[in-house]
């Protein structure tokens, strides 16, 4: 696993997906509807992706498309991709989607991801370079983690360019040290 230590990857794999068990499993409490500490064959359960994908590989479960890629999302993205609140669907909407596609065998998810990404990418960069901060704070709440990173990268490159043009102190207190303490009086 090339990104074993990657925090975002770990968080992405905590997203829940609906699965159906093809085998039963003893001694585990993961099915809230079950009264015993086991899962029956045919049980419908929501599992985090990290568990679901491994069980899928061993043919113990099948996975269906998670709610955040449902018809409602699709329609909203078709209408105006830039205004859809993807963050509330999943802060790792694209990464999650990419991991889901090979597991559910639904080609339309791929199309959805690509078209949403393309349209929003352009929109984010335009906003990052032009809009004032106050005007965009509303917009920022709709962005996924990846999109926020993009936005911040664009903003900081703008800021760096301005700084370079205007001049100013180049050496600064190491940011790891945190904010400046109040001077001791």
């Amino acid at each position: 696993m090339a990104n074993y230590y990657n925090i975002d990857d770990i968080l992405t794999e905590e997203e829940f997906v609906p699965v159906v068990f093809h085998k039963s499993a003893n001694g585990v409490i993961i099915d809230p509807s079950s009264e015993t500490n086991s899962v029956e064959q045919g049980a419908k359960v929501e599992l985090p992706l990290w568990l679901a994908q491994e069980l899928y590989l061993r043919q113990a479960v099948s996975i269906s498309v998670p709610a955040c890629f449902n018809q409602k999302t699709r329609l909203e993205i078709q209408a105006d991709a830039a205004c859809v609140d993807l963050k509330s669907r999943s802060p790792f909407f694209y990464e999650f989607g990419c991991k889901i596609v090979p597991l559910v065998g639904d080609k339309t998810v791929e199309v959805l991801l690509l078209s949403a990404f393309k349209i929003r990418y352009k929109e984010i960069l335009t906003k990052a370079y032009t809009a004032a901060y106050t005007a965009t704070s509303q917009f920022l709440t709709l962005l996924t983690k990846e999109e926020t990173n993009l936005y911040e990268a664009a903003q900081s490159s703008m800021a760096a360019f301005k700084k370079w043009r205007m001049g100013g102190p180049r050496l600064q207190r190491a940011s790891v040290l945190g904010r400046k303490r109040k001077p001791i009086e």
Partner: protein, 200 residues
């Protein structure tokens, strides 16, 4: 749900400001370790049960097998979260070693965030860097920003006294005094927030 506590641990790290450490969450960390051992016990008792039933543990695909599998997967997930928590904190600690650790003690408010092992790691890594630099007889932790002028104007932010001798001069570095220093000399003090660069 399995792995939830471990997720909270990682989530807590992720919610911190980038490049800054929060205090090492020992309580949650130990709770996840405990969970690992619980998974392991459950796993072993399922395997024992299979052996008692005379099943071939490696090939049998019974409900007990899948139960054991889920415990195994949960355990390695917990391990990943624990490792990532420590590893990514270590990243920040290395960064500190680069920026401030080679010459000086860390400020108390940062040291408080370390676990014991992290404090040791900070020291060890600083030593490794120092030993690399002495083999090369070259400091690699200065000149972090591309240089423009060899000399810069600085203001002293905290009383440093006259005990400091820089490569080409010594002076009384009283608080608020201003000096014209070699950039490479001043860099360390600026990074630690003891001086600030002034621009004309």
């Amino acid at each position: 749900m399995h792995g939830r506590k471990a997720y909270e641990l990682v989530k807590e790290f992720a919610s911190g400001e980038k490049g800054h450490l929060k205090i090492f969450n020992n309580e949650l960390f130990e709770r996840v370790i405990e969970e690992c051992n619980e998974h392991h016990n459950a796993l072993q008792s399922l395997i024992r049960k299979m052996q008692e039933e005379g099943l071939e543990v490696l090939t049998a695909r019974t409900a007990d097998h899948y139960g054991a599998l889920i415990h195994h997967l949960s355990l390695i997930r917990n391990k990943r979260c624990l490792m990532a928590y420590v590893y990514n904190r270590a990243d920040i600690i290395r960064d500190l070693a680069w920026k401030v650790g080679l010459l000086h003690e860390l400020p108390r408010e940062i040291q408080e965030k370390f676990s014991d092992s992290e404090e040791q790691y900070f020291k060890d890594h600083s030593k490794s860097l120092k030993s690399y630099m002495s083999q090369l007889s070259l400091n690699v932790n200065v000149d972090m920003v591309p240089p423009k002028d060899p000399y810069i104007k600085v203001r002293v932010l905290e009383d440093l006294g006259s005990g400091i001798i820089l490569s080409d001069k010594s002076a009384n570095f009283a608080r608020h005094s201003m000096h014209f220093l070699k950039r490479t000399d001043a860099e360390q003090y600026i990074a630690r927030g003891l001086m600030e660069e002034l621009t004309s």
